[in-house]
Symmetry: C2
DNA sequence: GAGTGGTCTAGACCACTGT
DNA sequence: CAGTGGTCTAGACCACTCC
């Protein structure tokens, strides 16, 4: 089929954004003006604008107009450094651990008006989770949901589901109480209190469109996907100690990994 | 403002998809039927359906109906293994190198009807690229664009921009000729022919909505984001030897990294 | 040909922003 | 208050699928 007129209009505007005719923060023409100029009915022009918004190119503000989206500053996450830092920190005395948290490590922000939300639930393992831990379907799990937010609108956020085998976590009853969050020293220290040392961590990264909850909590603009980080911590016995799924705002997050390579022998 | 009726309808259908009322592959009610049932005008119901499509939950087929999207099988990429494998292979004699390519490594597919597309251009470095290589703005660069495609509709794809300093690549004129693609042994072998050994690689991963070109070449369904892999190869002198940006289909790609941690000392 | 989703119009009203 | 984007309707026509 021929390209619909709303697509043609959207592509034309997208090209003008790409070539700088409309720069970041600039206003696009008003919908009503484009209708008057014969681009089509209001619904048609509006559909073109919604497409541009879904593609992350523009933002519309009711009563003001439509503007070219500014690229948001990205937070660079380096799990290789972060996980080792977290593990080292887990052994320190509590006063030391309390000084700075993982969120500050990721963002570089001081700890200002950070609010910490958490909700713990105990539920039977769904099939996918049971498979990760190599336990029977329905094994009781401790499912911890949490996120940090800040008054700063710019503050990067993450939305986390973390899973532990309930029977294991219950060895230290403090771990079952959500009011103990944020736990000084993080998950590595929590695991230490029940005699578990993490040997290595596997990060799996994918992406998808956000659901309505993620859109709301992460304050995502329309059209922004989420990065999904599935993090599996394996202990020194080869067992899965903890598994978490982290949703990260796609327009503010960059994951970075360094891969060293073996040197070729000299000839 | 109150939630618009099209959002309410979309959320209600999304909830029914989530709870299994409509399973993968199942048809949703017809738009016209929902209109008759008083859900709203056709445009309103249609807008709800487009929202569900943009969120990746359903696909619409003209003349047939609207169906719950099936989750696509994901290809797991393990750069730590792949890059070392690529480096090891670069030293092999040509007959050995020709046996299997990087695409087969990623996908596990045999090399059936793979078609290889490439386009080389020589252009002055844009600011971002110049900064990566730490060269002056406008330094001549060899920009290589390529992708592999397959008759199999299921075949996973990637769309790549790769950059080299032109003056460096020109030491082996064969590297400037796009008809030599696919080069047996890959980029590591190409670099070897001009005396460069890669010491380590930095992967940076982000995500965004696809542009129209990526949507077309990667055959992305509506609402599917792309994973962006920015890969920087650093040689044994600490210089950037090659830089590439890879667009990967978000519904078919998973990146996996393993992070070993130092053991705690025994008490 | 009957039924599906997709496009498009003309116009109404609402919610919000500025002055 | 005028002007903006967002919602919604009623109806027309088009492109495609299946019988």
């Amino acid at each position: 089929m021929a390209t619909p007129r709303w697509r043609q209009l959207a592509d034309r505007l997208a090209a003008q954004i790409a070539d700088g005719t409309y720069g970041p923060g600039d206003p696009l023409p008003y919908i009503r003006d484009l209708v008057e100029q014969g681009e089509g009915s209001k619904a048609l022009v509006h559909q073109a604008f919604r497409a541009l918004e879904a593609e992350g190119l523009v933002v519309s503000r009711r009563g003001k107009g439509t503007f070219v989206r500014r690229q948001r500053q990205q937070v660079r996450r380096e799990p290789q450094r972060r996980y080792q830092w977290e593990k080292d920190r887990a052994l320190l005395p509590e006063e030391e651990r309390a000084k700075t948290g993982a969120t500050e490590f990721d963002t570089g922000l001081e700890l200002p008006e950070l609010r910490f939300h958490s909700r713990y639930t105990t539920i039977p393992a769904p099939p996918q989770i049971a498979r990760r831990f190599d336990v029977a379907d329905g094994t009781l799990m401790l499912c911890r949901r949490y996120w940090t937010s800040s008054r700063d609108e710019d503050a990067p956020l993450s939305l986390i589901y973390s899973w532990l085998v309930h029977e294991v976590a219950a060895q230290n009853p403090d771990l079952l109480n959500q009011d103990n969050e944020p736990w000084p020293g993080g998950t590595m220290n929590q695991l230490l209190t029940i005699g578990i040392e993490v040997d290595h961590i596997v990060d799996e990264i994918s992406t998808r469109s956000p659901n309505t909850e993620e859109t709301e909590i992460l304050a995502l603009d329309s059209g922004v996907p989420v990065l999904i980080l599935k993090k599996t911590s394996i202990d020194t016995n080869g067992k899965v100690a903890e598994y978490s799924e982290v949703a990260l705002p796609g327009d503010r997050t960059q994951m970075a990994y360094t891969i060293p390579l073996k040197r070729w022998k000299k000839n």
